[in-house]
Amino acid sequence: MNPQLLELVNAAASGKRPHFFGDADVDRLLAIVWAMAGELAVTRERLDTLERLLAERAVVQRMDIDAYRPDPQAARERGEWQMEYVARLLRVLQQELDALRAASGEGGRGRTTSD
């Protein structure tokens, strides 16, 4: 995903983000932790699919997975995935920066063309 599109995907809704804890940093932290929980579930589900398919078709043994080393292309693709992954987790930080930028007239990303 290109950086512009990624920022648009992770944009905040208008309005102030409420915080519920005495220190808003706790809310921020929870947002990150919970996004991570979600992504972990996504990975777990993918792995589960994979393991079931592999077992069903008897193609790959566990040791094959441990012995695997990515080629440069695969390594690059994994790197890009990691970047997107981190951006997804740190949504809450991007959104606050967007708001600060918008307030300073820099124009936040992720706003609509009509507003």
């Binding site: 995907v9 809704a13 309005g15 809310d27 919970w34 996004a35 996504v42 992720g110 706003r111 609509t112």
Partner: protein, 382 residues
């Protein structure tokens, strides 16, 4: 007409649906315990009496750790649902647009857009339920991504309570009409604030000989909604861009007028205008009915507080006020007699495998048991 999802997109929504269900069944009920055991006694120690209003309950609960975590996690869930939906649809907004165009071209008379429609302040000032860009954002020409996102994520937030096709309220309404007016065949039906037509399609299917006019402010919702209906083989709906406060139709031109989950997104003034229009457009012998979550009257301060969460923390600025409004009285103000006005309950009709309200879960503010308020017009039906 839905977005093409990868394994990860689906897994994200699966996680959110299960997370929301867990929140509704395991975490949300803990608030009542926290209130009873901690927050209320602490308030009584300080104030000398129990909290009397929902705003006092809110103040009593604000420092409670369970309430804080539930709220903060719930807000995270709302944001993650948007993130997951946008991640799914924005990368394919061009192909979604093209697909909608192609489906819409099959039945051009069923989609009427009007570029002169202005978005009123109550809709433009805040992104509804934390949906970035709300229903209106158009990132490309003829964009449908806002609607595709709305469609994709609704199931995760309502965890099946609204049915597989999110049409439980509409199916319930059709069944209610068939039960209360056996054999009645409305010729012209009007759906106000139709969105992507989740609850328009079931009425069109229940009354295949009728023309259903579905109005909404948002062009992306209408483009997508019409394409979705065509894709589902439904051809008796006309999706029309219009403000429900001032509709371009002749007086008494509809036999059945309804809205689902619409009124809470308007304002005091708009609500009166909308009831004015619905009453003007209703034909003799016809009926209008509006479905919402139940009003607060008669509820304990604690339950009101729980149901009011969306009004405070999910960008629903008119939520609290709507649930305090005496809707029957507003209909009487439109000239209906007290006998013509009614309140009732309409059950969402959902597939057998979906959870049922009351039996499995009640997630405050998004249950499948609808409060309905309406009015029948006098005179013989045509």
């Amino acid at each position: 007409m839905s977005a093409a999802a990868t394994h990860d997109d689906i897994a994200r929504f699966n996680f959110l649906a299960n997370f929301n269900k867990y929140m509704a069944t395991a975490v949300a009920p803990g608030n009542a315990v926290a209130f009873r055991e901690r927050a209320e006694p602490a308030w009584i120690r300080q104030q000398g009496e129990a909290p009397q209003t929902r705003s006092e309950v809110r103040r009593a609960m604000a420092p409670d750790p369970h309430y804080r975590f539930w709220s903060a996690l719930r807000r995270c869930g709302m944001e993650m649902r948007q993130q997951a939906g946008r991640s799914l649809v924005l990368r394919q907004k061009e192909s979604l647009r093209d697909r909608a165009r192609e489906l819409n071209a099959r039945l051009p008379s069923g989609l009427r857009l009007d570029a002169s429609i202005k978005i009123p302040r109550y809709q433009s000032e805040l992104d509804n339920h934390c949906m970035p860009g709300s229903y209106y954002a158009e990132y490309i020409d003829a964009d449908v991504s806002a609607a595709a996102n709305y469609d994709a994520g609704m199931f995760a937030t309502t965890t099946g309570l609204f049915g597989r096709y999110l049409d439980g309220a509409g199916r319930g309404t059709a069944a209610w009409l068939q039960r209360t007016r056996p054999g009645w065949q409305p010729k012209r039906i009007l759906d106000l604030g139709c969105g992507v037509g989740h609850n328009t399609v079931p009425l069109a299917r229940a009354f295949p000989a009728a023309l259903v006019v579905a109005v909404d402010l948002a062009a992306p919702m209408l483009r997508y909604g019409h394409a979705r209906a065509v894709g589902m083989g439904v051809d008796n709906i006309c999706f029309q861009q219009a403000n429900a406060e001032a509709l371009p139709f002749e007086a008494q031109s509809f036999d059945f007028i309804y809205s689902t989950m619409f009124l809470h997104e308007t304002s005091h003034v708009a609500l009166r205008n909308i009831f004015g229009e619905a009453s003007r457009l209703l034909a003799a012998g016809g009926v209008q009915v509006h479905l919402e979550q139940p009003p607060y009257r008669g509820m304990t301060a604690f339950e009101q507080f729980m149901r009011d969460w969306d009004g405070y923390y999910n960008n629903e600025p008119f939520w609290s006020a709507l649930h305090e409004t005496d809707l029957p009285r507003l209909l009487i103000e439109q000239g209906y007699s007290a006998e013509a006005v009614f309140e009732t309950e309409i059950h969402a009709m959902v597939e057998d495998e979906m959870p049922k309200v009351g039996v499995e879960t009640e997630d405050f503010g998004r249950g499948g048991l609808w409060y309905a308020c309406g009015a029948s017009s006098q005179g013989a039906s045509t």
